[in-house]
Symmetry: C2
Subunit: 460 residues, 2 copies
Amino acid sequence: MIPIDSSLKKPLYEQIYDYIRLHIADGKISYLEKLPSTRFLARHLQVSRSTVELAYAQLLSEGYLESKPGCGYFANDMTGLYLERQKRHTAVFPKEPKAFRIDFSPEENEYAHFPYNVWRKLSKEVLFENDPTLFSAGPAAGEWELRAAICDYLYHARGANVFAEQIVVGAGNEYLLMLLTQILGSGKRVAMENPTYLKAYQTFLNMDYKVCLANMDKDGICIDEVEWADPDLVYTMPSHQFPTGIVMPVKRRMELLKWAAQKRSRYIIEDDHDSEFRYKGKPVPSLQSYDRKGAVIYLGTFSKSISPAIRVSYMALPKRLLGAYQEKCGFYASTVPKEQQRVLTAFLRQGYFERYLNKMRGVYKGKHDAFLAMLKKERWVKKISGDYAGMHLLVEINLKKHASEIVEEMKRAGVRVYALEEYMAREAINKKGVENTLLLGYGGLSEKEMAEGIRHLREM
Amino acid sequence: MIPIDSSLKKPLYEQIYDYIRLHIADGKISYLEKLPSTRFLARHLQVSRSTVELAYAQLLSEGYLESKPGCGYFANDMTGLYLERQKRHTAVFPKEPKAFRIDFSPEENEYAHFPYNVWRKLSKEVLFENDPTLFSAGPAAGEWELRAAICDYLYHARGANVFAEQIVVGAGNEYLLMLLTQILGSGKRVAMENPTYLKAYQTFLNMDYKVCLANMDKDGICIDEVEWADPDLVYTMPSHQFPTGIVMPVKRRMELLKWAAQKRSRYIIEDDHDSEFRYKGKPVPSLQSYDRKGAVIYLGTFSKSISPAIRVSYMALPKRLLGAYQEKCGFYASTVPKEQQRVLTAFLRQGYFERYLNKMRGVYKGKHDAFLAMLKKERWVKKISGDYAGMHLLVEINLKKHASEIVEEMKRAGVRVYALEEYMAREAINKKGVENTLLLGYGGLSEKEMAEGIRHLREM
């Protein structure tokens, strides 16, 4: 009765299992119908009894059969079940979104100088350690050695004075912000600069935080706007505001710290996203380095200084938040693979990171200088700001068209430029200058590409 | 007046900068005091003018100085600023938490058989491709090739029928749950089995979801309890419930799907955490494979099947949630490094994963059989459940002491056993059996360690 074929690849027990399963599913074996005993069926099919037992056990565990001790096996009620396998979907590769011939994105970087050989060598060393702990679960906040190496870097490069225990390593800034909202508690109000880093803005909204947008003057976020909005948190980029490029002077920083010091529940999130790239003088010390009250939560990343593909960011929590971190988020396993944490630790400790940074500072400065010189010759350029740092410039234009119209026209020519408006969280209250300002990134472009892009803009 | 020393390693401009900065900070140069011109100071100090200009530029950008066109440089008001660098903290390595001699944790795995050589080889190949896209930002939901490979695996191993576009790869289950709560929207109610996977429970609470705990009978979560609680979501582990080991029969699965089908807004999260490890028959097909309404969100992980250190989980979203995913979470960069995604893709595509799974299924089955045989001989063991799958057993004990007391006594002997109660989200309404049940994991233990642990238990 059950057609079985020992020449098939499919095991015998599975052939029996499939036959019975399908017959119960389509009602050919009906509810409470008694099945033959394993002994009987085995003899009948001329297979071993354990083969039939295995098929029955599987049917039992999936609920097709029921076993009544001393009575045997019975079919369960499966009426109305629709169990046939659907036809297999075929994977269709998605079309790549149309890429632009030239893309002035502020997030494009140059990877040609990445020390692949070093990274490979360190990877190999880490993997050759044959350390069994390499593949076991690690500490939630990251490997201790990496956190200590980050502390040293922060001390020397950013003036920050933190313990390794204050560092939490995570897969990207947005992930760390998700953790932060859990640490700080739900429903808080956060003040952000406008324009700002929209991914952070969207993350706060996703996490049900209320966002109040504060205007900036030439020194950065306006303290009176912060005071008026009375938030629990301020999210700011004091050392190089994105996208305006404003560097917050010490005095404003002190005012901001003073605001935070007025209530114990107030915190400042300092997103120090690309302070490594300044082309004049040395980096401005971090806001964290002035903090004496444990009000600053420092957020840093290797996305820009190494690569966005390695997905390592970190935050330095004030000590008074460590308890809440442990309680709320201490159970989350680290989101960064151990292998990568160890390669990165070696990259930092053995001086490769510093060398690579110095190299890239030179590379980007070269691009910056060339791009700035080109733009200064253009008649349609009214004012350039945000220079001498980062990987983009803000260009106020002297054209009849709005920046957003230029963006659309340029797209049709295969060139992507950006309007400052695209980085506004909401319609700015004070729009002066914004509608005439382009944002032009140069980090991923060659001088030839910059020149060609500028030629297209000139012909607008 | 400014002591500068060209024999120092510190650049001259930085010596000038530091001197002026500190004198402004401590008030020795007072507010609005005019500074010498760059030309004058350069001549006076016998340095080049550009050196002084660099120092002034830095002081300007940090806000210590103000420049009045045509008038010169003036000190800003820095009164009350406290800018001296704090003494450097010294990193103190934290003491490791006391490890137990023998740990019956259900989360411990065996890594001795991990194919390090293969992983190294694949890593090397991926890194040797010298592909510049390896270090650029990748698709938010993960690399297409990895998602397609996961689809194929899910189809063959779990009967799931999904497109690669439905797969979202992320750094761990908890991270994916954070995304899910953002996709589904805030303030939802989720029903969970009790006991359950406490990290998921805590994640939902952290994300401000309301959790209703539902009891289980021998077939898994009780549908009438779900109906009574009327949640938006059910989080369940139908193929191998953690920690009870219950396999939900097809009939109960259909009832659950039917519940979900009653309202378009209802979803079921199927956490299929360790279905790879069954030691009798073949794996039970996933709940997702029976879903015809797009109600099941499938959650899978490589933490158990490969290693918790690689931090790769994935979810298969029903098609009707893809829009919400794009809108709410499409901007989050993938949390898994590209390098690792590519190594994993090769591991899956080249058959290594299947071979490793088969190998490990044999290894864990061996441990399971040995452990089960040992326990069956013990007089204090009343009933064993959750056998023939996963990496732990539930053991009902026949002792005067409660399981939780035994846990404490054993800890003092350096042996960690677990009480089922530790996995209860809240006091169970129906506690029958729970207080007398131990949870004993064997995945990371040798037979010798198991035997020693059992000897200690026998002497309780």
